[in-house]
C-alpha cells in the first residue's frame, strides 16, 4: 500500500489514513475518487450507567447494512475505553448514545477526551437532546447530533459528514 500520486489533499497533523481509497496511505481528506471507498469506521458506545441500548443497536445494524464498519462496544463504557477502541481501530467517528439527560455532561467530556488523546476522530451524539442543547453541544465540538425520528438515511449521512466523506 502506498500513497496515490493523485491524492493531494493532506492534513499532516492527522494520524488517520485516507478513507477514500483502499490502497492509499495519504492522510485523511483525499478527495479524488469515491469508486474505491474504504468503509467509514465507527465506534459505537454508551457511557456510564445509562442502559437504554435499543437505539444504539438499531443504529449499529443500520450502519452495518449501509456498508459502514461498526465497532460496537455496547454498555457501561468510559471515555477512556472509547478512546482506546477508537485509537486501536483507527476509527473515523465515535458515536455515543444518550437517553438519560447526561449529554451536556458527557458530550463535551467525550470531545475533550478525543482532543487530549491527540486524535481527530469526530464525535457524534444520538438520543434525546432538547433543541436548546444542540447548540451547546455543537459549540463544544460535537460534529453531529441525531435525535428521535432520524431515518437510516439521516444517520448514514450524518456519520459520513462527520467522517469528512462526500
Amino acid at each position: 500500500m502506498s500513497r496515490r500520486p493523485d491524492c493531494e489533499e493532506q492534513r499532516p497533523q492527522s494520524k488517520r489514513r485516507c478513507r477514500v481509497h483502499i490502497d492509499c496511505t495519504s492522510p485523511v481528506g483525499c478527495p479524488v475518487s469515491v469508486e474505491t471507498q474504504v468503509p467509514v469506521r465507527v465506534v459505537l458506545a454508551k457511557l456510564g450507567f445509562d442502559g437504554h441500548d435499543r437505539g444504539l443497536k438499531i443504529v449499529a445494524r443500520m450502519l452495518r447494512d449501509a456498508g459502514f464498519e461498526v465497532i460496537y462496544l455496547g454498555l457501561r463504557q468510559t471515555t477512556d475505553s472509547v478512546i482506546a477502541a477508537a485509537e486501536q481501530e483507527d476509527a473515523d467517528v465515535i458515536g455515543i448514545s444518550m437517553l438519560n439527560g447526561g449529554h451536556l455532561t458527557l458530550g463535551p467530556k467525550m470531545v475533550q477526551a478525543v482532543r487530549d488523546a491527540d486524535l481527530d476522530t469526530a464525535v457524534v451524539i444520538g438520543g434525546i437532546v432538547p433543541d436548546d442543547d444542540v447548540a451547546i453541544l455543537t459549540e463544544a465540538g460535537v460534529a453531529e447530533i441525531l435525535t428521535p425520528g432520524a431515518s437510516s438515511d439521516d444517520v448514514a449521512a450524518a456519520i459520513r459528514r462527520a467522517a469528512g466523506q462526500p
Binding site: 456510564g48 460496537y72 455496547g74
Partner: protein, 548 residues
C-alpha cells in the same frame, strides 16, 4: 349438547354467586343514555373463573376501578417526601418511588459515573439517612409503598424495614411491592449488578423473608414492560415475562417454599402498546397461560396462586418527539387497551416524555386521561366487554400459541427446567438477540414507510413546533454529595466494617438468608455502594458481552 349446556349453566350460577358476594362501587351501571347494562355478557368461563382469561375477579371494575398509580420521583429525599405528604393529604394511600440512576445501579452519589445523574430521574438514596428523610412523618403502617428497583432491591428493602422499625412500625405491618425482577434486567433494562444466579438467590431470599415476616408485601413484580420497550414483539413480551415468572417459581420451590404460599403474592407488569387488539389478546392470554402453568405444571391448588394480576404502563417508546401533543391520543388508546384487557393498575405516560422528564402539566393530563376512560366512557361497567368477539378470541389464542412456542424452546434449552432455560437464554444471548432483531425489523418497516408513524414519517406538517420541557438543576447533586459526606463522617466506622463483614460471610453461605445481615448493615449507615461492593466481592459483577 345437553352436557355442555349443564356445564355452562353451572359456570353461570357460580359466577352469579361470586358476583352477588362482591361489594360494588357506588355508581350507576348504565349507559350515558340511561340503558342499564349487565355486569358480564357471553359465555363462560366467566371473569373470576379458571383459567381467568376474562379477568381475575367476578365483578371486575364494578367493585373497584383499577388503581391509577402514577410513578414519580425527583430530586432529594426531602423533595419527594413533600410530594408524598401532599398526595396523602389528598386521600392517596399508595406511594410509588422512583430512584435515580446511581441508586438503581447500586452506586453512591459520589461514584465517578454518577456525575450529572444524581436526583435526575428519581430520588437519590445512598444511606438509611436518605430513606429516613424520604418517609419522614409518614405512618408506614397506613400506606402501601411501591419501590421500583431491581439489582440492589434487597438493600432498599432492608432500608425500608429499618426506617419503619425505627418509627415503631413492625415489619409485619408493612404493605407494598418491590419490583425486584432481576431476570428482565439481563434481557432488556440492563440495570444488573451481580451475575444471574446469585441475583436470583437474592430474589428467593426476599421471597422467603417476606413470606415469613412480611405477609402484606409483594416481593417481586415480574415485568415485561422493559422487554417491550427494548423492542420485543407483543408475543415475546408475553412469553419472556411469564418464562421469567416460571423461573422464579422454580427457584422458590427449589429453595423450599410452597407454591401456594408465595404464588398469591407474585404480581406482573405489562406494556400497553399501539396495536389495540394485539395488546388486549396479550393481556387475556397472560392470565390464561399463568393459571394453566401454575395449576398444571407447578401444582398450585390455591386459586389465588393461579391469578395473573398485573400493572400496566403505556408504551413510552411509542411517544414521538415530533408533534408531541399527538401522544395524548396514543396514550389514551393504550390506556383503553389496558383497561379492556383487565389491568389491576395503570400508569399513563405524559405526552412530553420523548423530550424530557414530564412537566407537572403533562403528568396531570396523563392522569386525567385515565379518569376519562374510567368515568366517561362506560367501559368499566362490564367485565371483559370484548370477550367472545371472534377477532379478540382468535388473537388471545394466537398470543398463547406464540408464547407456548417460546416456552418450548426455553424448556428444551434448560433440559426440562424453565429456570435453567432462562439462564441459558441469558448466557447465550437468545433474549437480547431476539429483542434486537424485533426492534430492528420494526425500525426497517418505519424506515421504508411500510409502517406509518404519524408526525415522523408521514403527516409531518407542524412537526417543528415546540412545547415547554422540564429542566433539573445541579443543586440536588451538590446537596446530596454533602449529605453523603456528613453521614459517613457521623457514623461509627467500626460498626460499619463489622456489619459489612457479616454481609460477606452470609453471602458466602448460600443457605443463609441475607436479609438480616443487610438490615444490620443499613442500620449502621453503611452506604448502598459499600454493601454492593461487599456483595460483588463474593458474587462477582455481571458484564454483558457486546453483541448485536
Amino acid at each position: 349438547m345437553k352436557y355442555s349446556r349443564e356445564v355452562t349453566d353451572d359456570q353461570r350460577d357460580q359466577w352469579q354467586a361470586a358476583y352477588d358476594a362482591s361489594t360494588l362501587r357506588d355508581a350507576d351501571f348504565e349507559t350515558m343514555s340511561g340503558v342499564p347494562v349487565e355486569p358480564v355478557y357471553g359465555e363462560g368461563p366467566f371473569p373470576g373463573q379458571f383459567p381467568y382469561t376474562r379477568g381475575p375477579y367476578a365483578s371486575m371494575y364494578r367493585s373497584r376501578l383499577w388503581t391509577m398509580r402514577m410513578f414519580a420521583g425527583f430530586g432529594t429525599a426531602e423533595d419527594t417526601n413533600a410530594r408524598f405528604k401532599e398526595l396523602l393529604r389528598h386521600g392517596g394511600t399508595g406511594l410509588s418511588t422512583a430512584f435515580d440512576m446511581p441508586t438503581l445501579m447500586g452506586r453512591d452519589s459520589d461514584h465517578e459515573w454518577a456525575l450529572g445523574e444524581v436526583g435526575k430521574a428519581g430520588v437519590a438514596v445512598d444511606t438509611l439517612a436518605d430513606m429516613e428523610d424520604l418517609f419522614a412523618d409518614i405512618d408506614l403502617a397506613g400506606v402501601s409503598t411501591s419501590m421500583t428497583i431491581n439489582g440492589p432491591a434487597p438493600i432498599l428493602m432492608a432500608m425500608y424495614v429499618a426506617v419503619a422499625e425505627k418509627t415503631g412500625v413492625e415489619r409485619g405491618r408493612l404493605a407494598g411491592t418491590i419490583q425486584n425482577d432481576i431476570l428482565k434486567e439481563y434481557q432488556a433494562q440492563k440495570e444488573y449488578i451481580f451475575p444471574p444466579r446469585p441475583s436470583v438467590r437474592l430474589v428467593t431470599d426476599m421471597m422467603r423473608f417476606t413470606a415469613e415476616e412480611m405477609p402484606r408485601w409483594h416481593p417481586v413484580s415480574i415485568s415485561g414492560y422493559h422487554i417491550r420497550e427494548a423492542g420485543s414483539t407483543a408475543a415475546e413480551e408475553l412469553a419472556f415475562t411469564l418464562a421469567n415468572g416460571f423461573a422464579y417459581v422454580e427457584a422458590a420451590v427449589a429453595a423450599g417454599l410452597d407454591v401456594d404460599d408465595f404464588g398469591p403474592r407474585l404480581s406482573f407488569f405489562f406494556n400497553s402498546h399501539l396495536d389495540f387488539f394485539e395488546e388486549i389478546g396479550k393481556f387475556r392470554a397472560a392470565r390464561r397461560i399463568w393459571a394453566r402453568w401454575m395449576k398444571e405444571r407447578y401444582g398450585a391448588t390455591d386459586e389465588k396462586a393461579m391469578l395473573c394480576r398485573f400493572h400496566t404502563q403505556t408504551a413510552g417508546v411509542s411517544l414521538t418527539a415530533q408533534q408531541p401533543e399527538n401522544n395524548i391520543a396514543r396514550v389514551a388508546l393504550q390506556a383503553l387497551a389496558g383497561v379492556l384487557g383487565g389491568t389491576q393498575s395503570l400508569h399513563t405516560d405524559s405526552f412530553d416524555e420523548a423530550l424530557a422528564l414530564p412537566t407537572e402539566d403533562a403528568a396531570r393530563i396523563a392522569l386525567r386521561t385515565q379518569q376519562i376512560v374510567a368515568h366517561e366512557t362506560g367501559v368499566a361497567n362490564v367485565a371483559d366487554p370484548l370477550g367472545g368477539a371472534p377477532y379478540v378470541e382468535w388473537m388471545t389464542d394466537e398470543m398463547e400459541r406464540r408464547a407456548e412456542a417460546i416456552f418450548a424452546h426455553l424448556d428444551e434449552l434448560g433440559g426440562g427446567s424453565m429456570l435453567e432455560g432462562v439462564y441459558a437464554g441469558i448466557d447465550n444471548g437468545y433474549f437480547v438477540g431476539a429483542i434486537a432483531d424485533s426492534a430492528y425489523e420494526f425500525e426497517r418497516r418505519v424506515n421504508s414507510g411500510r409502517r406509518i408513524v404519524v408526525g415522523v414519517n408521514d403527516f409531518t406538517e407542524g412537526s417543528d413546533d415546540k412545547v415547554p420541557i422540564l429542566q433539573i438543576g445541579p443543586e440536588v447533586e451538590e446537596y446530596q454529595l454533602k449529605r453523603l459526606e456528613r453521614v459517613k463522617g457521623d457514623r461509627n466506622q467500626r460498626a460499619v466494617d463489622a456489619a459489612l463483614d457479616a454481609v460477606v460471610s452470609d453471602a458466602q453461605a448460600p443457605d443463609v438468608n441475607l436479609m438480616p445481615a443487610l438490615i444490620d448493615a443499613v442500620r449502621a449507615y453503611a452506604t448502598e455502594g459499600e454493601i454492593v461492593a461487599a456483595l460483588e466481592g463474593v458474587f462477582g459483577t455481571h458484564v454483558e458481552a457486546a453483541g448485536l
